[in-house]
């Protein structure tokens, strides 16, 4: 599936009405050396020109009915699904993750919606909760988004959501996700210890899940915001240097993956 005459990986950052992280997400793609456009929900553009798609954070369709559910049923999502089925990258961040779960593409083991992102359980704040947390990369190179991470690497990121708790009714699903190495990032303490308690697990997600990929590894839903933690100056109490911080490797991994396989 090589796209000819394209030197740089090219990403479409989607904008559904109510999304609000599209600018900074696009900026991070460009900073790691990719091209990126913001593509509106009602665009007639040919999406096959892109190597990958990001559905950014925000409140698409004001979270009507359930976060992500309306965007999941938009016509343009069908085109994106087709591209992803052909191996193109598809990353959903926060509200984008909610959209991908609602499409059934995450975890994508059947043609049905297998999981949900339920309201946070949090002893401090009910509803929307914005806080800095840590996540851990469980594997290396099992998907397009952990290509450049080491196993057990700890990454600081903020979460900013009211419904970010990965849950499922299927008792066997978690086991399958572990076996398939689909649980890409898990919430942990700042020294990497994984405990299922607040504030380490900030929303009550099962198995401390922060991000899940599909089995093929080209689609991932992540609740924390890597685009807000990609530079040292973005991270609280870190010396305000101008260097990159480890969350930027989510975007660098995408670039690396595309360059290895598609260009």
């Amino acid at each position: 599936m090589r796209l000819n005459n394209m030197k740089k990986p090219k990403i479409a950052v989607m904008y559904f009405p109510g999304n609000n992280c599209e600018e900074e997400t696009r900026e991070r793609c460009i900073e790691v050396g990719m091209e990126a456009d913001i593509v509106r929900w009602n665009s007639k553009e040919d999406l096959s020109n892109y190597h990958g798609f990001i559905i950014p954070g925000g409140f698409s369709y004001e979270d009507r009915i359930r976060a992500g559910v309306i965007a999941a049923k938009e016509k343009i999502m069908e085109s994106i699904r087709k591209e992803a089925n052909n191996g193109k990258l598809l990353l959903g961040i926060c509200n984008g993750a909610q959209v991908l779960v609602e499409t059934g593409m995450i975890p994508g083991l059947s043609n049905k919606v297998e999981m949900a992102l339920a309201p946070n359980t949090n002893p401090l704040v009910t509803g929307y909760y914005c806080a800095w947390i840590n996540i851990k990369s469980i594997y290396k190179k099992t998907c397009a988004y952990n290509h450049l991470y080491d196993e057990n690497e700890v990454i600081a990121m903020p979460i900013a959501h009211g419904e970010g708790r990965f849950v499922t009714k299927d008792k066997e699903l978690a086991g399958k996700l572990i076996k398939n190495k689909q649980i890409v990032f898990r919430y942990c303490g700042n020294n990497g210890n994984i405990k299922d308690e607040f504030p380490i697990n900030p929303n009550g997600s099962i198995y401390n899940i922060a991000a899940i990929s599909n089995k093929e590894g080209n689609v991932m839903a992540i609740m924390p915001h890597p685009e807000r933690a990609s530079w040292q100056w973005q991270i609280p109490e870190l010396k305000k240097g101008n260097g990159m911080a480890s969350a930027i490797k989510v975007f660098e991994s995408m670039k690396n993956y595309i360059e290895e396989r598609m260009i």
Partner: protein, 790 residues
């Protein structure tokens, strides 16, 4: 004088009693003499539409009729001012980047009465309105901040105070998070003076190139240009909101006032903002000059008349073209309702199709909210009349300047009696009496858990503080928030808000001086240079001479402080570039709120990498004090927990403030400080404890302090709120720091060291005063606020 095609209200012929009854029946709050003044001004009796129009334009909220002549005192014209407080927002210089001059756009408003009546919607629409004020200057909106004042959470109206606090916080979060503008700063005070009248102020920042400013008036040669409104379809919500803001809140009338509160739609606003950025882009590309204005108080009437009048044009409006969501709206309701999420554009005819396409097709507004769109509703006229048609009839036809000029009053001033005394408090017992309620340890914890001192992280965690990805220092991690101004530049913009109600209760002049000085210290404490101020002046009833005196004193205090703490490197004032006046903040029982001149200070940082926070960075570094501790505990938290107010609020020596602020900034710029905290509520003890804990309350490095430097009794040294700073530095830099301070004729005092022992230990020579483990400090500081709003 122009004629209208509808019935006129016979103001000239009506008896005063009948006129008064007529005005009341029509919910018009004009006085009889004001109604008669309309006849004088327009040379005939007005139509009902015209009467409603003047009712809104002459309300306190829209006309500043009581405050205008006093506000003239404020300094607004320093060399860094790009635009003073005359349009929807003020603009101050950020700096030059690649030869282009960039400006920071700032607006500061209140939404007090709506938030008292329907707190969620009131607070949400406050955020919505302020974002429009900044956006309509042509700016990219980059941050908001919320200074809040609530009733006593432990007083007789505690349930209501807590309910309002929670709903207001949720409303701010519900709106700001959804549009996606980070919340950068804010403060919260509780006291009983706000029981019947909370204060919900909001500040918003934007950024632009000076050459891209879009003014709140029609461009040159605008005759015949289209007048376009865009956004939500007009309904009857918020009709009379401006007039409502200028009334005293009456508990029984509250039900009737609910209709005067607007309905927020952050989802539509999210799309509107993005579509509007596209219009900016297209207009720039095509080199088209436009006029653009928020639609807030007075709706279509206010925005269209001001856009045209301020460029010496008239306007002709056809209300039948306005997109509405309700049938059979009366003409004055369409004209004056304050439906949210709307803007007015003045556009040359050749650009109108592009503008309509962006909103109506590219961003398909009508699919976002029913019947939302951009519509041409009239045009700019050479003749300077304001003409409004409805169903083929002229319902308003008056000289446009008569609509926009407003009226003014010279209100009476009378100095109220303030008979306060200094209390004689017993000194607390030293550390050995740990379990005694009056031990230093217990009092320290009580101060840290006081809701006005305690960590507000629980509130801030409702707010999206890092959306847009530009936030460098979040609320609570330092005395000011800090945001990256734009990509590819190291400019940072700092923001802090301040006003201590109890200082203002004791002395409204000194309270205002302290608010200005503290907001500047807050910005300086991270290393940013105070560049501009905004003020939201929340006071009582201007018709009561004692309450109006407090207002005038507050303005005098802001003026004196702004003029005497110069802009860095000049003798110019730190300019006041935007502001708002909110009067009639009293309950129906006639009790005014504490005078509240809420000040925001905007700071500029050339290199955000130099910024520091309050959190102690390492063990075995040195702690210093700048700013002498004085016996001036009036209004302090220490007095408050002893149920006293006191008399001596902190005095500000302007020269010393100026020097201390610029010395601290210079030290931070030279990389000499590790952390720094302004001393304010709770005094020295609180400042040190907060430095140990840090914004996230996760600090593990303690401190060992010796108070031997002070001549005051130990409680006064620890709890006096005299202005100053505490900072942490490495020993090797002591000489350099002292040299910087010496340049400013100041000395610093050594307080002690930071330590890995996990305690805050305070002594005075051999006498042990306080020994508290960090987890005790943490527990007190983090529980005080959640407990207060539970």
């Amino acid at each position: 004088m122009g004629d209208v095609d509808t019935d006129l209200i016979d103001i000239k012929g009506m008896e005063d009693a009948n006129l008064s009854a007529f005005l009341r029946k029509n919910a018009i709050s004009l006085t009889i003499s004001e109604a008669k003044k309309i006849v004088e001004l327009i040379g005939r009796n007005p139509s009902l539409t015209e009467l409603h129009m003047f009712n809104i334009q002459w309300s306190e909220h829209s006309s500043y009729k009581s405050s205008r002549h006093i506000l003239k005192m404020l300094p607004t014209k320093s060399s860094n001012v790009i635009l003073g407080p005359i349009e929807d927002s003020g603009i101050v210089e950020l700096g030059y980047i690649d030869g282009e001059r960039y400006g920071i756009v700032v607006s500061h408003e209140s939404h007090n009465h709506p938030s008292q009546v329907v707190p969620y919607e009131g607070a949400a629409t406050g955020v919505g309105g302020i974002i429009r004020d900044v956006l309509c200057m042509g700016a990219k909106v980059i941050a908001t901040a919320d200074p809040l004042r609530f009733g006593n959470p432990y007083g007789e109206n505690k349930n209501k105070a807590r309910y309002i606090a929670n709903e207001v916080i949720n409303g701010i979060a519900g709106y700001g998070n959804a549009v996606g503008i980070p919340n950068l700063a804010g403060d919260i005070y509780f006291n009983e003076s706000f029981d019947d009248n909370c204060l919900v102020n909001v500040v918003c920042l934007g950024i632009l190139k000076e050459k891209d400013i879009i003014h709140s008036y029609a461009p040159k040669n605008a005759e015949g240009y289209d007048i376009i409104i865009v956004g939500k379809p007009t309904d009857n919500s918020g009709f009379g909101g401006a007039a409502f803001a200028s009334l005293i809140l009456d508990e029984e009338a509250k039900e009737n006032n609910r209709g005067a509160v607007q309905v927020p739609d952050p989802f539509l606003k999210n799309v509107l903002i993005r579509a509007t950025y596209k219009v900016f882009e297209e207009a720039k590309k095509k080199k088209i000059a436009l006029g653009f204005k928020d639609m807030g108080a007075g709706g279509i009437m206010c925005s269209t008349s001001e856009l045209c009048s301020d460029a010496d044009y008239g306007a002709e409006i056809n209300l039948d073209k306005v997109h509405v969501s309700m049938k059979n709206l009366l003409p004055f309701v369409i004209l004056c309702s304050e439906t949210q999420e709307r803007f007015t554009w003045i556009s040359p005819k050749e650009f109108t199709p592009t503008l309509l396409r962006i909103y109506n097709e590219d961003f398909a507004l009508s699919t976002i909210a029913e019947n939302a769109r951009a519509t041409v509703i009239g045009n700019v006229t050479k003749k300077q009349d304001y003409v409004v048609k409805h169903q083929g009839k002229v319902v308003c036809n008056v000289p446009i300047k008569a609509v926009t000029n407003g009226i003014s009053y010279e209100r009476q001033l009378k100095k109220p009696i303030r008979d306060f005394k200094e209390p004689q408090l017993k000194e607390p017992l030293n550390h050995d009496n740990y379990n005694n309620y009056y031990s230093y340890n217990k009092i320290a914890l009580k101060i840290l858990s006081h809701p006005n001192v305690a960590s507000k992280q629980k509130c801030y965690k409702h707010y999206d503080r890092n959306v847009m990805g530009n936030t460098i220092i979040e609320s609570g991690f330092a005395d000011a928030g800090l945001i990256r101004a734009m990509p590819n530049s190291k400019y940072g913009i700092a923001l802090s808000v301040d006003s201590n109600p109890r200082y203002c209760r004791i002395n409204p002049y000194l309270g205002a001086v302290n608010a200005v000085a503290e907001s500047m210290r807050n910005v300086a404490a991270i290393g940013a240079v105070p560049s501009a101020l905004t003020d939201c002046l929340n006071y009582g009833n201007p018709e009561k001479p004692e309450q109006f005196y407090d207002f005038a004193e507050g303005v005098r205090g802001i003026k004196d402080a702004a003029e005497n703490i110069y802009l860095r490197g000049t003798k110019e004032p730190v300019p006041v570039i935007s502001g708002n006046v909110s009067l009639y903040n009293e309950s129906s029982k006639g009790k005014a709120i504490d005078p509240s001149p809420v000040i925001a200070c905007i700071g500029v940082m050339r290199d955000y990498e130099k910024a520091i926070t309050i959190k102690i960075k390492k063990a075995n570094s040195l702690l210093f004090l700048a700013g002498k501790r004085k016996d001036e505990l009036g209004g302090s938290i220490y007095y408050e927990i002893n149920k006293e107010l006191g008399k001596n609020a902190p005095l500000i020596d302007f020269e010393e403030q100026r020097n201390i602020i610029y010395a601290v900034i210079e030290c931070i710029e030279n990389g000499l400080l590790l952390s720094c905290h302004d001393i304010s509520d709770g005094g020295l003890l609180t400042a040190i404890a907060e430095m140990i804990l840090g914004g996230n309350a996760d600090g593990i490095i303690g401190a060992e302090i010796d108070l031997c430097f002070s001549n005051l009794r130990d409680d006064k040294t620890l709890f006096s709120e005299s202005p100053g700073f505490v900072f942490e530095a490495e020993e090797k830099n002591t000489g350099k720091i002292k040299a910087v301070f010496k340049k400013y004729n100041l000395e610093i005092t050594s307080l002690g060291i930071t330590s890995a022992n996990g305690f805050l230990l305070i002594k005075n020579k051999d006498k042990k005063i306080i020994d508290l483990p960090i987890n005790k400090l943490r527990e007190a500081w983090t529980s005080g606020f959640p407990d207060a709003i539970k």
